[in-house]
């Protein structure tokens, strides 16, 4: 039996293990104490990511509270992902990519018309995935807030210039998230094809939950 390299370093028992196809949504409940590993199978695949408190989904991931609390824009090993009420939701327990983005937001059909032109309006987008997944549990548009983009690179220059640039991830790189409370994880495996966030080629990612 060969050893699965994507499980390397994970402790505990695998309780969920799934490949999220390119361009697809994913929703999963992760209990406090469990660990979610996201594997960037083919490299430079942005994983757009939201969190809701399972007990009260008006409490949700807050990019602003997270970056303010750590005084830094980039999400690195040790970063505590905080809610809009300032509580820890998950912690980045380990990451083989230096840092991840939380200011770039999610692509949408509507913002694509601004960024690229109205010819992109019909293309699939992360907000479509977020909506589809959230609607299955009664959440809707009001519940879409600034998200995390795992494996995505958004530097900010001295004059405030920013943009999504070539990724710093690679095939097989991972991020491990330790749940500090019972959470609902909502993911869009980003379908964007107009910028480098997915290397212009959306690919599958793997989700592994251990307990």
């Amino acid at each position: 039996m060969s050893v699965d390299p994507h499980l390397s370093g994970l402790s505990g028992t695998v309780v969920h293990d799934v490949i999220v196809p390119a361009r697809a949504p994913w929703l999963h409940h992760v209990a406090a104490g469990q660990t979610l590993r996201i594997v960037d199978l083919e490299g430079n695949q942005a994983v757009d990511f939201l969190l809701y408190a399972a007990a009260d989904d008006a409490e949700r991931y807050s990019a602003q509270d997270t970056v303010a609390a750590q005084g830094n824009l980039f999400l690195r090993e040790g970063t505590v992902l905080r809610s809009n009420e300032g509580r820890p939701m998950m912690t980045i327990a380990a990451t083989s990519v230096d840092y991840h983005d939380t200011i770039g937001g999610a692509c949408s059909c509507e913002s694509n018309t601004l960024r690229y032109g109205h010819h992109t309006k019909a293309e699939h987008a992360c907000v479509e995935n977020f909506l589809e997944a959230n609607l299955s549990e009664g959440r809707g548009k009001r519940d879409i807030v600034s998200n995390i983009n795992f494996f995505m690179n958004v530097p900010v220059e001295e004059d405030g210039s920013l943009g999504i640039v070539d990724g710093i991830s690679a095939p097989g790189l991972t991020v491990d998230l330790h749940a500090e409370m019972d959470v609902v994880v909502v993911v869009s495996n980003c379908p964007q094809i107009n910028n480098p966030c997915n290397g212009f080629n959306p690919t599958p990612v793997r989700m592994i939950v251990t307990a």
């Binding site: 303010a68 300032g86 509580r87």
Partner: protein, 274 residues
Amino acid sequence: MTDILANPLAARDHARGMAGTVVEAMPVLPPVADDLPAGVPADALVWEETIAAGGYATRRLSRGSRLRLIDLKGDACASLLIFNAEMPTERLNIADTVKVQWNAYLGQGKLLLSDMGRVLMSIMEDDAGTHDSFCGASNAATNAAKYGSGDNSGPHPNGRDRFLLGAAKHGLQRRDVHPCVTLFKGARIEPDGAIVPQIGPFQPGRTMVLRAEMDVIVVIANCPHVLDPRTDWTVTPLRATAWRGPVTPVDDPIRNATPEGLRAFENVEDYFRR
């Protein structure tokens, strides 16, 4: 109970006796402002209010309205939520605001974009230059940690709880309090991602003028910046003035400044094509 208020009519007279009281932070009704820009008629004024240190205010503004904010004493901190008044599920999207404009630092000419690819408000004038699109507002937990309390009912109110009350006045809920921008207090980013807050205090009277590009609800919370390094809870009053103005014409320089921004205006114009 004092003797004089022992019956309803005495209580009525006591209450009526307060009429005409003037305090630092209050609305003026009907609005009066002796410093409107040249060419703005007095009867175009729609809102005049000084927002208390630690207070909040909210207002529905029609498309074309100008909203002037003045940091009266140099230590105001205006955290701002914006909704499409007609359909409040559409609201300010700070990620799209910085991403679409390829820049994170707000100032004159910048647009505040919704999550529907439209421009909610634009910044017509800004002599402050220190604004924050990253850190958001304080919350009960951050104020409790820094000041010992953060409750609306206590001496150190926090931005999020002010937003909750302001949004609730429009029938909105906890899930509607979205990521905000903060005006007059800044945040700059170092190459390693470190956030450098620009807290001041600054010279009094710094002024911004925003233009409503759609019918909007604004909620403004004036509480200390979440990264204010001072141990004392410190903030000063904020003046808000608004007047009616023309809808942005097709030759407007802010409308036409960038291809991305132009498409945001075109999406607004398409929304109102009905």
